[in-house]
Amino acid sequence: MVIEISCEEVWREVSNYLDGEITPQLRARMREHFKGCKHCTAVLDGTRNVVQLVGDAKAFLLPAGFSDRLYQKLDRKLSEDGRL
């Protein structure tokens, strides 16, 4: 039999749940809770979605002119060092 868990406890562990950083017992309790709690399921889904989005390489783009400024700086450094 799975012991019930409160919503507050689920929120505290939702990140660990996604990272697999909880015991199998707690995972089972949370999974059972999600079956009957739309709110906590929304918190879980949204948190998982955030992790997926921020981990995507397309989330943050280079500013315009980034490469040009970088290599200008590199060229300046090389000439200062007498390597150009």
């Binding site: 929304a42 918190v43 955030v50 590199l74």
Partner: protein, 236 residues
């Protein structure tokens, strides 16, 4: 350095950057990278551009995610790349060059952030919503409509992500960046920040929930359609 030497080299290769030792233990030598590095070391400096170009995005992402200000992030990214150039001879090829470079960039950004903190009394005015035990309380409980990765093509979502990230306090932001943007493990994140694993987990929870709340206005589908109706359907 020959391949056989790399295989038998016992001490982990390392580079000291910003007072921190970056050590690598996995052998992930890319022949093209290795050739470019050798060319740079022989004085063909133009090869450095070829070496760095594929990593530019990852380097900037690492610094931008830690530093709020885009100009500071660019500055830190440039400094990291120049540092990599100066220290290239110390790179022994036991990790991907990009991994090494991103770690230098992360350190550079963290150093800059710490310098900034010394000039400020408070990390952030936003202390979030807490219950009586001090736990962060999620703000939105409506059904979450998944924001698909394809929606990252839209400027609105990318801006919203940057704003959401910038709204975190530095201590929460740096944990989220290392764990979720840079994909370090919790243990690696803890080591890099000099924190206990439990502290990393606590900060990560808070950061993820706060990011979720910040992005919730888009769950009505506006991230994928570019519509702005969420302003009318969400009260905040």
């Amino acid at each position: 350095m020959s391949a056989s030497h790399r295989r038998t080299a016992l001490p982990a290769p390392s580079l000291r950057v910003g007072g921190e030792i970056l050590a690598f233990t996995k052998s992930q030598v890319d022949p093209l990278e290795s050739e470019l590095i050798q060319r740079v070391l022989r004085g063909q400096h133009e090869a450095f551009r070829e070496l760095v170009r594929p990593c530019e995005h990852a380097v900037f992402m690492a610094t931008q995610a830690i530093l709020k200000n885009e100009a500071d992030a660019e500055d830190a990214a440039q400094e990291a790349i120049l540092k990599a150039f100066t220290n290239l001879a110390k790179f022994r090829g036991d990790s991907k060059f990009s991994t090494w470079l991103v770690r230098i960039a992360t350190n550079e950004a963290l150093m800059k952030l710490r310098k900034e903190r010394r000039h400020k009394l408070h990390d952030s005015l936003d202390d979030g919503r807490k219950d009586d035990k001090g736990n962060y309380v999620p703000r939105d409980f409506a059904d979450w409509r998944e924001i698909p990765s394809e929606a990252l093509q839209t400027k609105e979502l990318r801006r919203a992500l940057s704003r959401a990230l910038a709204s975190l306090t530095p201590k929460h932001r740096e944990v989220l960046v290392l764990r979720d943007v840079q994909h370090f493990t919790i243990e690696e994140t803890a080591t890099r920040l000099g924190l206990r694993k439990s502290a990393v987990k606590t900060r990560l929870l808070r950061a993820r929930l706060q990011m979720r709340d910040a992005l919730a206005p888009g769950m009505d589908g506006s991230w994928s359609t570019g519509r702005r109706e969420y302003k009318q359907v969400r009260p905040w």
